[in-house]
Amino acid sequence: MDRLDLKKLDPNFKHRVAQELGGEHIRTCYSCGVCSARCPIEKIEPEYNPRKIIRMILLGMEEELLKEAFLWHCSTCYTCQESCPQQVNFTEVIFALRNMAVRKGLAPAGMGVAQNLLCQQGRMYEVGDFENEKRLEMGLPKIKGNPEDYKKLLED
């Protein structure tokens, strides 16, 4: 690994994360590592490591972090958040980081496709005539996506 100059990193990154919704408690972390120890994703994908992600935030490694694909590996199971002794709320921090990445245009390509789907049909999975007929047989109401709401939500 290349040696990084601490001065070239952004010391205000952690403060910006703290201003995001959900990132408020990021600076209370004292790197105990409970989040990483209990994370089910970390066991399959060792490169996704909550403790390392927090450390990167605290050291100001914004560029390095936001472009990483592992930011999107989190399944938001909230195990880390439940076990944190310092109430860092790491799952919320992940949301905050993802929001920051999207704003910088660093979201993975799949995210764009998902967004288009939502805007077109108001659902991730298309509900067609076949499904609605089945529902009618079972006495359930018809489902209609409302893309207008999502367009409103996602315009940014």
């Binding site: 690994m1 040696r3 990084l4 100059d5 601490l6 010391p11 600076r27 209370t28 450390r55 050291l59």
Partner: protein
């Protein structure tokens, strides 16, 4: 015998030191009605010492108030530029030899308190650095900040050049040795101040963030909230590379396993703290004991926080290692109470009826004086045991070549009577098994033996226990006597190392037993019939194990 009423307690206390703990101890003792003599080798005024305290109170103001009210008190005498050259005598009436530039004189005091301030040595030489505008000690930076009045937010000279929003200040704290909470408190308070007032980036390099004091956890959290960066290291800290005027720190972050470097605009280094040389020498000559790192009070669990190895000599404050001002005050108050307890404690008439020196037998060889771990034995034209200083460990009685010192309850006569009683019982019982006798310290083996007897473990007929006040009382004569009475084996139990209430009792016992084994072998007997073991008071299983194993060995030998 010296009449017991000659042993008195002079209600006057000598305090060494000029810091917070010295003045607080003096103040508390004055309030308790004692006379205080405070001596200080320097003329430095204590308020000049830099302090940053936690919890918003000013150490300087506190000290100033205390000094002013003390100096008005007629019971308080202070000598500056005065040293203590020697302490003679015993608890209750020490002769303290004092020395100043003008004169030498002796003060008689009942108790002595060591309340020294530590001296700090820089570590620049170890790191091949020289102090300059970019490199400074923690103490120097503290001094700069504590002399600043709050209304001056910025100065464009000296270290203040480094305090800009884009600069990086690096603190190296507790990297070469185990850090301490006092330095950590200074480091964190300064880091917080710099972050808040100058917005510079602060990076702290340490082994551990020591927060075991009131308010420290809060301070640490405040630093993290302000964005101070911490790098922690297991062993080696950052590598310091110096080229011309540029200092570079190279290190690997333990969490990311990522190498980093930093050219700090200001490098703050901690110092090594130690006792002043004259205090160290005095502690050695007065035999009050020191620990491995050269601070006062040896590592022994039996010593109360303010006690030294000698009765009547107490320790208060940072002589035991760097401390926060608030802890110094607590220490000083505890020391004053310990001293009060000593003065209010039992008088000479009530104490020491138990130790007797037979003047007919004593040849004044002074073996006892040399061996006593509590400095409790003195001599004029005869040996006397000082009632306040003696802690009845019996080491002197064990060592005395003439057996002139006897402790009631444990005298040679009484021990021999117990051994003969065994002999008589042996004749009554049908005797097939080998028998063993256990000698043990009442504090460890004695407790274990009681436990063994009350537990389900059946006490075997062939094992007998004789209690000793301390393993140091163990006289090799008892071993020989036991063997002469036909006992198959002798076990001696002493407390674990560094855990002897009489400091060296267990070591003395070990040495004596080893020697005894050697001359038993020379006499043609099997030295394995004697065994020495360390035992602590909760090791019942170990006593059983050793006894069973020892019995097994003896039986095997008998069979051959």
């Amino acid at each position: 015998m010296i009449p017991l009423q000659e042993f008195t307690k002079t209600p006057k206390v000598l305090i060494l030191g000029n810091g917070l703990s010295a003045f607080e101890t003096a103040w508390q003792l004055i309030s308790l009605g004692y006379g205080v003599v405070l001596i200080n080798p320097e003329s430095r005024i204590i308020e000049e010492t830099p302090f940053l305290s936690l919890g918003g109170w000013s150490v300087q103001d506190y000290l100033k108030d205390q000094r002013e009210s003390l100096e008005k008190n007629p019971n308080f005498i202070q000598y500056t530029q005065t040293t203590l050259s020697a302490i003679e005598g015993f608890a209750g009436e020490f002769s303290a030899h004092l020395k100043s530039e003008q004169k030498d004189w002796t003060e008689t005091v009942g108790a002595v308190v060591f309340a020294p301030e530590l001296v700090s040595e820089t570590q620049f030489a170890d790191s091949h650095l020289k102090p300059n505008a970019q490199i400074i000690t923690l103490e120097a930076l503290t001094e700069i900040f504590s002399s600043l009045s709050q209304s001056i937010p910025f100065r464009e000279e000296g270290v203040f050049v480094a305090f800009t929003p884009h600069s990086y200040i690096a603190f190296l704290s507790g990297l070469d040795a185990e850090g301490n909470v006092a330095d950590m408190a200074l480091t964190l308070s300064l880091a917080l101040k710099i972050r808040k007032e100058y917005q510079s980036q602060v990076v702290i390099f340490c082994r551990q963030v020591k927060v075991a004091e009131e308010g420290m956890e809060r301070l640490y959290q405040a630093c993290r909230d302000e964005g101070v960066i911490f790098f922690k290291f297991d062993q080696a800290g950052p590598e310091i590379i110096r080229s011309n005027d540029l200092v570079t720190l190279q290190f690997v972050d333990a969490i990311l396993e990522q190498p980093f470097e930093l050219n700090p605009d200001l490098l703050v280094m901690d110092s090594v703290h130690s006792l002043p040389k004259e205090i160290r020498e005095l502690a050695l000559s007065a035999q009050i004991g020191m620990d491995e790192s050269g601070f006062l009070q040896p590592a022994n669990v039996h010593l109360l926080p303010q006690a030294s190895m000698r009765t009547g000599i107490f320790i208060a404050g940072s002589g035991k290692g760097p401390m926060l001002p608030q802890t110094c005050i607590e220490e000083a108050r505890a020391a004053a109470l310990s001293i009060h307890h000593f003065f209010e404690g039992r008088s000479a008439e009530e104490m020491n009826r138990e130790v007797v020196v037979d003047e007919g037998l004593c040849t004044i060889c002074l073996t006892c004086v040399r061996y006593c771990p509590h400095q409790a034995i003195g001599w004029t034209h005869r040996i006397f045991i000082h009632p306040f200083a003696c802690r009845r460990c019996g080491i002197c009685a064990g060592e005395c070549p003439m057996d002139a010192i006897q402790i009631s309850g444990y005298s040679d006569h009484e021990v021999e009577k117990k051994l003969t009683a065994l002999q008589e019982r042996r004749q009554q019982v049908e005797f097939i098994q080998p028998r063993i006798v256990i000698f043990g310290c009442q504090r460890s083996a004695g407790v274990v033996w009681e436990e063994v007897q009350s537990s389900k473990f059946k006490v075997q007929m062939e094992v007998e226990f004789i209690s000793m006040p301390c393993a140091g009382k163990m006289d090799p004569d008892y071993l020989l006597k036991a063997l002469a009475l036909g006992v198959s084996g002798v076990l001696v139990f002493a407390c674990p190392e560094e855990n002897c209430k009489s400091i060296h009792g267990n070591t003395y016992a070990r040495e004596r037993i080893t020697e005894a084994k050697r001359y038993i072998e020379e006499a043609g007997l099997n030295p394995d019939r004697i065994r020495f073991e360390h035992l602590s008071s909760n090791m019942v299983w170990y006593l059983r194990e050793v006894v069973e194993q020892f019995l097994g060995e003896l039986k095997e030998k008998k069979a051959h």
